[in-house]
Subunit: 226 residues, 2 copies
């Protein structure tokens, strides 16, 4: 007799994420899960970052959206392989869809995969995608109170990009209040203030990404892995 | 023998929303469901709108957030009754929580209730709260491509506030592309460009709200409803 098993979404996702993590480790690919609200500038950030990465670092992109392939087309112009993941209404990416996206990339020829999540800071951080790290992006136009109001993302991220710094003079963004709220949730994650319009600050974030990819950039040891 | 019924979240919500709608009709209260991404300026909009409403219009606010009572405290300073609805991680409001919030307000003494949703344009529009209308808020800092990328909200809203217009000169927001994408989804909804920093444009939106409340503002007819 068959027993019907109803698994919670999160439990099923955790299992799929573990498979993604194992695949990425076997293929020596670093994956970064990029999370922000809508219009904070995730795609613009990729447009700035990808051309600045050192030439030896081979990049692919999984582009998550609810609808349209517009962002995938923008990223495709960077000359890197990209797969558009459409959730068709779903408000976050799940690991099973990421696994299908990775299957469309030639992982042998890649060192780094950016996973651009759906524009939402409410629930995507609940869903492990098997990534090495979550990277948060907050635009200063969104206000300094976001860490306290959306605590899960800000506590889980390994790095935070503070974007649209060119707009800072025209906003009421309070840097002290922001850092105080952020550090109450996350003591360690570095913050990278930058502007995708001017390019200011992008280099420091690129340096952090390259550091995350160090194992992939190192020449394979003579004896291989034991 | 009892039959276990597993109802989908959306079906359960639709039933609760119908009860909210009936309650609001019986109490002659207009409810507006305010939806935007995080940091687009929903609370700032209420801070601008509430003091401008005509004195005869009695306002209450249900303030939805994932965490903290910060926005509820801001709205409370306007001198109107406010109930903070905390989803504790949930990425949208549901009608059952709205019903509990309304039970905390003295509806007999109110004409208009703003329901400020969680900062998210991905899924809140899926959840009917029993409101009379959904009002969307998009900040120009978020970019003109949002209607096409988050179509459900933009197709369902009855009015769209285009906020942070003071930032327009410093962004790449393309008004023509925005209107074209919006009108492909929604032919009728009026658009209210405004700035909560300068107050420009707020009056027109206030006029629309008052129009939505006309039945509540009209003196009760001598014979009552037939």
């Amino acid at each position: 007799m068959k027993i019907k098993v109803l698994e919670s979404i999160l439990a099923g996702n955790a299992r799929a994420a573990e498979e993604v993590r194992e695949l990425l480790a076997a293929e020596r690919v670093t994956a970064l899960n990029l999370i922000s609200g809508p219009g904070a500038g995730k795609t613009s950030l990729l447009e700035q970052v990808v051309p600045r990465l050192q030439p030896g670092l081979r990049v692919g992109v999984l582009e998550g959206d609810i609808a349209t392939t517009r962002d995938g087309e923008r990223v495709g112009k960077l000359g890197v392989p990209v797969v558009q993941l459409l959730t068709n209404g779903g408000c976050h990416l799940e690991a099973a869809l990421v696994a299908r996206g990775l299957a469309e990339l030639d992982l042998d020829s890649l060192d780094l995969v950016f996973i651009e999540n759906v524009g939402n800071i409410a629930c995507p951080a609940e869903f492990d995608l098997g990534e090495m790290a979550k990277v948060g992006l907050l635009s200063v136009a969104e206000g300094h109170d976001k860490p306290a109001k959306y605590p899960l993302l800000f506590s889980e991220l390994s790095a935070l990009v503070l974007g649209k710094m060119d707009l800072l003079p025209y906003t009421d963004f309070d840097m002290g209040a922001f850092e105080s709220d952020l550090r109450a949730l996350n003591a360690a994650a570095p913050v990278f203030p930058l502007s995708c319009r001017t390019g200011d600050g992008v280099g420091a974030f690129v340096g952090w990404i390259e550091e995350m990819c160090r194992p992939q950039l190192a020449p394979a040891s003579a004896g291989g892995t034991s």
